[in-house]
Symmetry: C2
Subunit: 479 residues, 2 copies
């Protein structure tokens, strides 16, 4: 058995990531504007499958998909003062239409709270219109001045799923925040992306929110990447935009709002977390191609091998697998192996002269590189099982690796040493005071991810001030 | 039986269209930028079903979906000189990122030929990379100075399906044009939208194309709307962008290109063509809701009626129908009828005390307003048949109406009179000379749609110059 290598993957991740995006023809970052890329057919199909999952989860929980305009007038964007402060340095401005200068500058949406607000004002009249749960999948734009990275820090985020909800009470908004956290948890679970859930510190919340909960994962270079956020907006926007509703008792109140988003970073994480030195490994449940059939034509058996391959292809297609027959004749089987391994197809099926003789197929697993021989008459059942195994194994490996990157330390000096050495996520006991978090972040030159929400109460002493503590604070170097 | 009225629909179409878009909650045009609207949940679902059809047709014919950036640098947009001339007065320009002025202005894509060109240059090396057939579904932007109209003439076209193909020879590009015309024909047929297919005059072709073929439909106000176009681009773009490929014989040549697009105008046509004075009528095959169940609760039977309604709902849902139970208790059945008729649900099912007694349901057809009574045990089969009938009847009615709006006239004076009186499409014998077309257009104050491509040879004399002719020229007042 060959060895599964993850050296380039872990030690030279940036290079690995770029070469995989290009080599597997997922996303082309050579477009002549910095921070803008092109989804190629194979990448687009993967993206489509990922979006199918989140749409299903949202539709099932009574969210309704809508589509809001891209352009937001400056006057609208500026109505909620914290919000505009948070975004104004990152906004692209449209100033001209044809040869005319526009009266009011138009922003390319950096996010859509302010585009939705005037519509909510029209749509929501009374308590019977609430709760209202909407979402859209669109491009959003940020004029990033930091170094950009394909899919991770871009200027056109091409795949932004943003949900916006309106509620009659704070309690219902809180319930919605919980539902959103649950939906996102299910989403990342189904992609096999491990995560931590953290309450962001006040200084790092979404511009205009009361508080922000974030999903953070760890990438192969041990840096942490935010992959989803859930915000309770309170009445900040509804007061700024005067969105009220008629209560049961006949009085009026401002609506309560939440919003939550995930982006193509989910796809970047998916690609990265399951990969190895040979390229992608896509979990079978979302793989655009689950099986690739490669004929191994020995001299004298060419036609028979191709014929058998086509026959097997038809059977597997009919059985409902997403299967591809690579019958290119000008390329060696070895080059085909390389191509499809790079693209992360979970199972490869080879059909050679021996298979003809024995009525078998030879299967190779992309994740472990293990090889199997199955009789043709039993192959459907065996393949089904094998796909399930690959799915499970990928998720298990990702989880295990992730767990190993989290270090819980109680002693400050040790925390510094371990964090410097190992990266990943540092967990420390914490009194809950923002100042202590801030201090620790500075000492470690790390970002404070915030209070861990997905752990049990942990009785200890704050790593900074020494006061009794029950909370866990998480820190990391982030993208 | 009640009468199906189409008075407001035909005589006051603009008003009808706006009130239906709003009333049925399809698309909200009250967004605070002129020419930009919001797809609401019900409209979005209809749009999703329409897009499903075109995606299926394109995927089946080996088109691959991609996603290109929204922003196009001015330098790129300007490379093909005819193209930029055609679009420069309609382009929105991004000039600032945050507080910085950009070095190069960025256009919001009016269409994506020039965004794709540098990528094709990277992707296409040799004849084995051809043909390449790509498409995307995106928003495009046109700074319209004419009066705007929701879904029909907007500044953000939110649903632009644009396909772009590359070929080794002119012949293959011509074959592709034919395939595109076939795909679009199937698409409009499946929506029940009648159309004519016309070769646009040279002065009205797509900026940068050799020629343009257009699909034109007729709206209830007898004006013609262009709903799809197919362009042969020749080597105009490939020469401007220097996109070449290696031929089998070892030499290089520029690629040949086509492109073709449809927009949300297809949805505007769908909504309009099948409507009547009560609102929408959506063909069952694409209706987000095919059946709505409305309980008719007489005093003393309330609980039993609701219970039976829920039971019927479960049965029909399980049978695979897209069914909705309207069990709102604060609204009368009459208001519910009004709501769902406006939204165009093909079949309404009423369940009252008598139905309980007789184990029946009462069905009302949205298109003819006819009513039927079916036994519960036979309802699935009956409903299936009825949905098919509605589908067929809608398509037939649309076709018949459309045919009546086309007038073929050989005499100039009569043509003038009939066109003034009836509007719609005027068909006249034509020698094929552009000058004659131009003259006639001016005389009638009509737009020349171009040469009819979907008619048999017609031997006559040109209506303008009197020379022998075999072609048909079409003219109309258009949007």
């Amino acid at each position: 058995m060959q060895e599964v290598k993850r050296e380039k993957w872990g030690n030279n991740f940036s290079e690995w990531f770029r070469s995989v995006l290009n080599g597997a023809e997922l996303y082309d970052y050579r477009y002549p504007i910095k921070g803008c890329g092109v989804w190629r057919p194979y990448g687009f199909k993967l993206r489509r499958n990922v979006l199918k999952i989140i749409r299903k989860l949202l539709d099932e929980t009574n969210h309704h998909e809508v589509l809001l305009p891209l352009l937001i007038p400056e006057t609208l964007l500026a109505k909620e003062s914290e919000h505009v402060k948070g975004f104004e340095e990152q906004v692209y401005w449209v100033t001209h239409g044809g040869l005319d200068k526009l009266d009011v500058k138009l922003a390319l949406r950096p996010t859509s709270e302010t585009a939705l607000a005037p519509m909510l004002k029209l749509w929501i009249k009374s308590h019977s219109d609430l709760p209202l749960k909407l979402y859209q999948v669109v491009s959003v734009f940020r004029y990033e001045t930091k170094a950009t990275r394909p899919l991770i820090r871009v200027r056109e985020i091409t795949t932004f799923k943003e949900a916006h909800t309106a509620h009659a009470t704070l309690e219902d908004a809180e319930r919605q925040v919980k539902e959103a956290v649950e939906v996102y948890s299910k989403f990342f679970n189904s992609l096999g992306i491990p995560y931590t859930i953290n309450l962001r510190p006040q200084w790092d919340k979404f511009a205009g929110a009361i508080y922000t909960i974030a999903f953070d994962t760890i990438m192969p270079d041990k840096r942490v990447m935010q992959i989803g956020t859930v915000h309770n907006l309170g009445q900040n926007f509804s007061k700024a935009f005067e969105i009220t509703y008629l209560k049961v008792d006949g009085t009026h109140d401002y609506i309560w709002q939440t919003c939550y988003g995930i982006s193509e970073r989910a796809i970047a994480a998916l690609i990265s977390i399951h990969g190895d030195d040979r390229g992608l490994i896509i979990p079978p449940s979302i793989a655009p191609i689950q099986l690739v059939i490669i004929p191994i034509p020995y001299r004298g058996f060419e036609e028979k091998v191709y014929e058998k391959s086509r026959e097997i292809y038809e059977i597997l297609k009919k059985a409902g697998f997403r299967v591809k027959l690579d019958d290119r004749e000008d390329i060696t089987p070895g080059s085909k192996f390389y191509d499809w391994e790079l693209r992360g197809i979970p199972l490869r099926i080879e059909i050679g002269p021996k298979d003809l003789e024995e009525e078998t197929i030879t299967i190779s697993r992309r994740d472990t590189l293990e090889r199997y021989k199955y009789k043709v008459h039993e192959m459907i059942e065996k393949i089904e099982k094998l796909l399930e195994e690959v799915e499970k194994a990928l998720k298990k490996r990702a989880k295990q690796w992730f767990k190993n990157q989290i270090n819980r330390i109680e002693n400050l000096e040790e925390a510094k040493r371990i964090f410097e050495e190992k990266g990943g996520i540092l967990e420390v006991p914490w009194c809950g005071n923002d100042e202590c978090g801030l201090k620790l972040g500075e000492k470690l030159d790390a970002r404070v991810l915030g209070e861990a929400l997905d752990v049990d109460k942990y009785v200890s002493k704050c790593i900074i001030c020494g006061k009794p503590s029950t909370k866990i604070l998480r820190l990391a170097r982030t993208y």
